[in-house]
Amino acid sequence: MSSQVVVTGIGVCAPPAEGPAADGAWFDVRTQLGRRGYKYLPAACQYLLVAGRHALDDAVDCLDGAAEEDRGVVVGTNNGVAALHDEQDRTVIAEHANELSPVTAPFGAVNVLTSRLSMEHGFKGISLTLTSPLVAGLESVQVGARAFAAGRSTLLLAGAMEQAVPAPEAAAPEEGAVVLVLEPPEQAEARGATGYGRCAVRTLLLPHGLTGTARERAEAVLREAALSLGADQVPVYALLDDSPVSELVAGAVPAAVGPIRDAGPPAAGSLTPMLRLADRLRADDGDSLLVTAAGTGNVAMVRIWRTAGSTPRRSAGC
């Protein structure tokens, strides 16, 4: 039902957990990426490029067996260009489109940020940008598994990138990027790479205001998805908000191995669930199911089978 992928590299570019609120001050583009060619990229793209470098370094020889046409990129984002669009739109309203910066005009389309990562490494396979609220990052892993199964790719960078939203008082801001190197299990095994572990992801979408039989049907869909990923076999960690959808998810997902464990609240975008996935992949007790849901109706579940004895290599943050 849900194909598994092996995670052979992790790259994280995010502010320190104990640091100040997201405002970009923690990141220096010249130090992280170099003096030329990166300064005018949207911040989310800069974070993505750094995380991509870390992930490829971390996965060591992962490029050896994959031709450039078989290497792909799948990235989730919700607010990767929200701040840029806000700035551009205010310029148009107050002045004129001719006052827009020519170097940022191409980023009207968010997929250009993802494509910049494809360009950076010459990846000519698939390049997809996903934008489902909250779950787009985890969805990138699911889409990656599907791409392997369909023969569209043999090596993927899958990730999430976000930049603080222009209305921080109305949403918990998040900044940074996570990139995972994904490989099909048989390919990783062939090159002797055990990686951090295997993942399989389900994404679901529920309508609002469910009652009666519609609610029962939604509960059945949630339960089927959770059980298909082994929710009754491993600890369940959850990032849930205060929405009715999250309440429904919390009640429907079977948690046979102890109560559902709180993995913190989700924020404004798709980054936090991917940071938690990276955490689980690096944790000694990593075998688990991670569940997240939001008031939009979006739900994602990721099962993690951690490789016994694997230890974090260079998958450090910025």
């Binding site: 849900s2 194909s3 450039e68 919700n78 929200a82 551009q88 739109d89 148009v92 309203i93 489109a97 001719n98 827009l100 020519p102 005009a105 191409p106 980023f107 009207g108 389309a109 968010v110 997929n111 250009v112 494509s115 910049r116 494809s118 360009m119 010459g122 990846f123 000519k124 396979g125 698939i126 390049s127 997809l128 940008t129 996903l130 934008t131 489902s132 609220p133 889409v143 599907r146 199964a149 369909a150 569209r152 939203v165 209305a167 109305a170 389900r202 994404t203 679901l204 979408l205 309508p207 609002h208 469910l210 049907r217 939604a218 869909v221 404004a268 975008g269 939009t296 109706g297 979006n298």
Partner: protein
């Protein structure tokens, strides 16, 4: 390999709502100029769009932002055309999926906040939540994806929908592409000098860029077995798709077209069909200078210059993330009728674009396979092959 059937079609463009309206417009081939955007804050040199009239959208969706309204209009038609409704007896126990393609989503929500001089007071929501509105029609979805690969998003969504059927992750998938006017996007294209002040004129020597339109296309996609079991009419088959990336430039296509050729060949390879048996191509053809030349050369390399093209954007404008979805719906209609409609006349074909654009008359569809191309900023390329219901 699992056969992937299209059993429901829905569409809305500047020519009205419904497949009948689209087909009538395709056959009439009117030269349609874009109109001024209904936006007093559109401070830009060419503030025009081929918009969808409010009268063509259901009044009950009026509270929603326009991309969602467009999507729901197309989805409602597709569901009815497929003989569903979802959640009814015909699909009881079926796993329903959604693959949505949109570039800007409901960007107009955020743009309205800013026009009003403020920010969201309660909760900041992504502009890209169109799928949530569609889910209200479909019930709980077992799998969902929203792809925002700019002007090719709808093509990737249809390819993803077919993959979901083939992988067995879903029994029925709604493949949807939708985009409405966005002030930010139109301003960015203006700033790049990429908006034609006349209209969208693909392959015309005098073209000066693209010109946007609003639209949505929706298709109900299911396995041929599932369709047969419930007695559904099959409009077309999704035989294959090829996905590549230029990895070359943020906005310009790679001049040799290597990766768009590879996308076309990958789509053909996945069908097992001979390239000589493609009856028509719906090109990406945006009207931008280099794109049309590169795509023409790529088409020549794969097919020669003898395959008829149906250049849809000349009729409805460049509809962004909806473009390839609407093109796929148009392809299904061409397959149904066995006829390639006349292209909207162009003044003078660019000699660098050596493609066959039949004008002034219909052309019989020689083979019941059609290719649809979709390309996007960032060099994201998708090609799809649709076949007649006979396969």
């Amino acid at each position: 390999m699992t056969g992937v059937a299209i059993t429901g079609l829905g569409v809305v463009t500047c020519h009205g709502s419904g497949t009948r309206a689209l087909w009538d417009a395709m056959m009439a081939a009117p030269v349609t100029d874009p109109g001024p955007v209904p936006d007093p804050y559109a401070n830009m040199d060419v503030p025009v769009v081929q918009g969808v009239s409010d009268a063509d959208l259901p009044a009950e969706s009026q509270a929603l932002a326009k991309t969602s309204r467009l999507a729901l209009t197309a989805v409602d038609e597709a569901i009815a055309d497929a003989g569903l409704p979802l959640g009814g007896p015909a699909t009881a126990g079926s796993r329903i999926g959604l693959a949505l393609g949109t570039c800007m989503g409901d960007a107009s929500l955020h743009e309205q906040w800013r026009s009003d001089g403020g920010k969201p007071v309660a909760r900041f929501t992504s502009a890209l939540g169109v799928a949530s509105e569609v889910a209200e029609r479909l019930g709980p979805l077992s799998v969902t994806t929203t792809i925002s690969n700019a002007c090719a998003a709808g093509g990737f969504a249809l390819g993803a929908a077919a993959d979901l059927i083939r992988s067995g992750e879903a029994d029925v998938v709604l493949a949807v592409g939708a985009d409405a006017y966005s002030r930010v996007m139109l301003a960015c294209f203006n700033r790049m000098g990429a908006v034609d002040p006349v209209r969208c004129r693909p392959f015309d020597l005098h073209r000066r860029g693209t010109s946007f339109g609003e639209a949505a296309g929706a298709m109900v996609v299911e396995s041929a077995e599932h369709a047969r079991a419930r007695g559904a009419t099959v409009h077309a088959l999704v035989e294959g798709s090829g996905w590549t990336c230029d990895a070359h430039h943020l906005t310009a296509p790679e001049p040799e077209g290597t990766q768009i050729v590879r996308a076309m060949r990958a789509a053909l390879d996945s069908t097992g069909a001979d390239r000589d048996r493609i009856g028509c191509v719906l090109p990406h053809g945006t009207g931008t200078q280099l794109n049309d030349v590169v795509e023409s050369r790529a088409l020549n390399e794969v097919f020669g210059a003898e395959v008829p093209l149906y250049s849809l954007k000349a009729l409805i404008g460049h509809t962004g993330g909806a473009a390839a979805s609407v093109a796929a719906v148009a392809a299904a209609l061409i397959l149904r009728h066995g006829t390639v409609p006349p292209n909207v006349p162009i003044v003078e074909q660019d000699p660098e674009c050596r493609v066959w654009l039949p004008q002034g008359r219909t052309t019989p569809l020689g083979f019941d396979r059609i290719m649809v191309n979709g390309y996007a900023f960032g060099g994201n390329n998708v090609s799809l092959v649709l076949a007649g219901a006979g396969g």
